[in-house]
């Protein structure tokens, strides 16, 4: 029995099936990156789980088939939408609503917002819709993370965040070891370090369900060699941080990557892809580091 069991979930708009007999199980502790092109059904899946949509099929929370929009289930799910809503109410009222209506911790919100670079006291009286896109997103993330939820559902959560806030956001999510996550993202590398499972949707069906943790077990390492076209101090420093050794005046690097961190490491490489002339990631080397 999973945290959420989805069986034969179908959602049609007029005659077009956006979710088509989708079957999926989300277990406690799963940190899922939900990927897929536009229109693949990611947001529709979220809306079905949150009870926003009527659907055919069956969704069970901890084995119990719940009503379409069950308040008890929603109390255990925190959600951040893709686009912040243009709420007119002041930020303080939204926070109070989250506190009284969803059990968000006031102290937790203060702390998380501080880490995200937001001074809640400064913006408390400002209407939410008047904030910048990044500020709105930070507030929504703050509210979601301050809730004692068992499942976090984030729809492109970092889309409006600047790189610094994005890094903090990823760290904050990584700290939440007590809950499962379902994160839709176009950029897998962004959430790669967080997740232990990748699910790809295409035209409303699961086309890839990759439990990263099965293949990339903790304690197993991969031998990696990287050749750069020219030395790059920042990239070099990042590789040294990963325990790599440097040769050829900063143009060749070699090291061992913990297999469980492969996605996070690939996320790093993707930022410097244009510098990489040669790359090998030896999967046959599974020896201990």
């Amino acid at each position: 029995m999973g945290l959420i069991d989805i069986n034969g979930l179908t959602k049609r708009f007029e005659k077009r099936a956006v979710l088509d007999e989708l079957t999926l199980s989300i277990n406690a502790g799963d940190r899922i990156a939900l990927i897929g092109s536009n229109g693949a059904g990611k947001t529709t899946l979220f809306r079905c789980l949150l009870g926003h949509y009527r659907y055919q099929g069956n969704v069970q929370f901890e084995g119990a088939r719940t009503a379409r929009r069950d308040v008890g289930t929603l109390a255990r799910i925190a959600f951040v939408p893709q686009l912040p809503p243009p709420l007119r109410l002041p930020v303080g009222d939204l926070l109070r609503f989250a506190e009284k209506g969803a059990g968000a911790s006031a102290a937790g919100m203060q702390e998380i917002a501080g880490k995200m670079g937001i001074d809640l006291d400064e913006i408390r009286n400002r209407p939410f819709y008047r904030l910048s896109g990044g500020q709105k997103q930070k507030i929504l993330v703050t509210v979601a993370l301050a809730r004692d939820a068992d499942l976090l559902i984030f729809d492109e959560p970092a889309a409006n965040l600047d790189p610094a806030a994005r890094a903090v956001f990823i760290d904050l999510l990584a700290e939440r070891k007590d809950c499962s996550m379902l994160i839709a993202s176009h950029r897998l590398e962004e959430v790669a370090s967080l997740v232990n499972r990748v699910i790809e949707l295409d035209r409303g069906a699961v086309v890839l369900d990759d439990s990263v943790v099965d293949r990339l077990k903790a304690g197993v390492f991969r031998q990696c060699r990287i050749g750069l076209a020219s030395a790059h101090p920042t990239f070099g420093a990042a590789l040294l941080d990963w325990g790599f050794t440097e040769t050829d005046e900063g143009r060749q690097y070699a090291g061992k990557i913990p297999a469980a961190d492969t996605l996070r490491f690939l996320g790093l490489l993707s930022r410097y892809a244009s510098l990489i002339e040669h790359l090998s990631l030896d999967t046959s080397d599974t020896g201990k580091g």
């Binding site: 009527r54 809503p85 989250a98 209506g101």
Partner: protein, 280 residues
Amino acid sequence: MTSSPRASLGLMFRLELTESLRSRWFHFYSVVLIGLMLLLILTGVSESRVLGFTGLSRLLVTYIQIAMAVLPLFIIVVTARSMVGDREAGNLEYMLAFPVSLSAWFWGRFFARLVLILTPVLIALAIAAAYGAVKGHEIPWNHVMLYAGLVAALSTCFLGLGFLLSTISRSTEVALGASMVIWLLLVALLDLLLLSIMIRSQFPPEYVVGIALANPLQSFRTASMILFDPQLILLGPASYVILDAFGVVGYVVWAMVYPTILGLLFAALGYWRFKKTDLV
């Protein structure tokens, strides 16, 4: 965390009050309704005499007749776009992800809007009473209270209708268009317009009276007249039907109870529809 339905309802009620108090529609609406009363006072309407009405009675008669034109249109247009507008903007997607029941969400908003709509009217009536007291006019408290009741009934009716339209419409444009058509139809069915044409065309009088009784605008209008003109001289021969069938008290009760029930039924239908379809 909010657990009881009552606490959830209170939470949504306060949230809607807070949000609407900051919205432009409420500011504009309040300025129009309170400003109208101030304008009537400043122009000395209470000092004039028409068909025997003078003083505060004259002021209230004029105010309530104008309010009848403004209030329903304003309520239905603003309300019809509320839910569907929130749906289009993405507000519903976010807010309905919180663990608050749909009934608390819907009815909390409904009653908060009702309070918001009535407050400026009640303030305007209070200003009229205060002005009457200062000028030494006799204050017809029973009429002030009955007017407040009639306004509350009419407001409930159009608020419910607005919520219904807002939940069944898939876009703001459709909701606004439908609200305008309904309002125009109800105005057209007032006794001076379509009903007189029907009578002239020898339409069965029972149907004409039935339409007039069913029209909440007409019931408000007639009841507001009956308070100051118990014989309904202003209304003409139709007054015989009303007075024979209802009597003065009976008709005033009808004009308060019927629109209220109708509005609550519309709202309940809207809630049922809201619950049964996709929320976002």
